[in-house]
């Protein structure tokens, strides 16, 4: 039997969840024995080259690109897992949800204390750039998500527990100390 195929991505996240995947330490050697990686920042494969078994999603959807990538993952992965608070509930990026977009952009590009040299007062609006959504959405409000691994980031032991369970077809153990929202 061929190895299960895993894909991962970071949408509106900070890459902390990917760091936490690496935090499984030497078990990563075991992992590459067990699975094959497809589209993922870990191996830098940019496009899906085949159907995958498990897709790990870090981050919620804050712009049109995130939605596009997430839908692509849904299409190519049999099982989709929301990894981390941002994927599950928007996380820190969603703290902008109570602030009008224009105010956010003005603060970032015109009025913020770190803005220097934008003398022409340009707010980036090139058609090539993804469009910001009205608010940041959790992944399961955009596509169907099969499993959730909470945490900011999810503990490495939780990721390991869940991944090995999915790969081997066993039940996840989810011990109390590792399922946390922070």
């Amino acid at each position: 039997m061929s190895k299960p195929v895993i894909a991962t991505t970071s949408l509106a996240g900070c890459f902390g969840c990917h760091m936490s995947i690496l935090d499984i330490d030497d078990r990563i050697l075991e992992l590459i024995e067990l699975v094959e990686f497809n589209k993922s920042p870990i191996d830098d494969i940019k496009k899906f080259t085949k159907k995958c078994d498990i897709g790990l999603i870090e981050g919620g959807c804050c712009n049109s690109e995130n939605v596009h990538v997430l839908k692509d993952f849904r299409e190519h992965c049999k099982i989709l897992v929301s990894v981390g608070e941002c994927a599950i509930m928007g996380g820190l990026p969603a703290m902008r949800n109570g602030i009008p977009i224009k105010e956010c952009l003005d603060e970032a590009y015109l009025n913020g204390p770190t803005v220097v040299g934008n003398t022409e007062k340009i707010v980036p609006n090139d058609p090539e750039l993804p469009i910001l959504l009205n608010k940041v959405y959790p992944c399961h409000e955009v596509v169907k998500i099969d499993y959730y691994l909470p945490g900011c980031p999810p503990r490495a032991d939780l990721i390991w527990d869940a991944l090995t369970a999915l790969i081997t077809g066993n039940e996840m153990k989810l011990p109390y100390e590792v399922v946390k929202f922070d």
Binding site: G90, I145, Y176, V179, D182
Partner: protein, 237 residues
Amino acid sequence: MNKIVKFSIDGVECLATRGQFVVDAAKENGIYIPTLCNYPGVKPKGGCRICTVKINGKLMTACTSPVSEGMQIENNANEINEIRKAIVELLFVEGNHFCPACEKSGNCELQALAYRFHVMAPRFPFSFPIRKVDASHPKIIKEQNRCVLCKRCIRAIKDYKGRSIFAYSKRGNRVEVGVDSKLGKELTDELAQKAMDICPVGSILVKEKGFYQPIGTRKYDKNPIGSDIENLVVSKP
């Protein structure tokens, strides 16, 4: 006149003083009934419905129902825990509960209940309401994004004259718990700390007091909420 009554919880025979509220009676028998708006020593309000149990086949709030002879109570049943879980999820989507950025994380009762009921993601859509942070008072911050309107602070935090520091304002789904600006100025350090401790979530914060406890040592990092009651050694007469 004290009178001991016999009743049962999930088939286990229990004893208590007649008239005791079911949550307290259960606790004395080493049985945990989850609560949120209830606080020991404060008059019960029956607001959050987390303590829902079935008493003689009827759904009731355990924090406001007095125990009586022969009562048959169902507590730890799938059907009831599912109701409680749904309430916890509703509370999560109703406010803005960003656990990773919250000073109370690890010591928060709402979060601890979510852990206990294995909430991985709420089944309801997030409402992301627009709420304010009120930092205008000298000693405390009132973080409205996190308030679950349990009224514990209103009921329990009084100044030396018995006046409430906290009160409801506005109505309907815009109701909020505010701080009396005059009494808020006179708040003692001790009372400010008591208010922060009595708030089950991170809605009342003592200024400059956040994140002082390392992760791993906080109240619910290792021990589920209620485990202290469940691990009580109950001496039965």
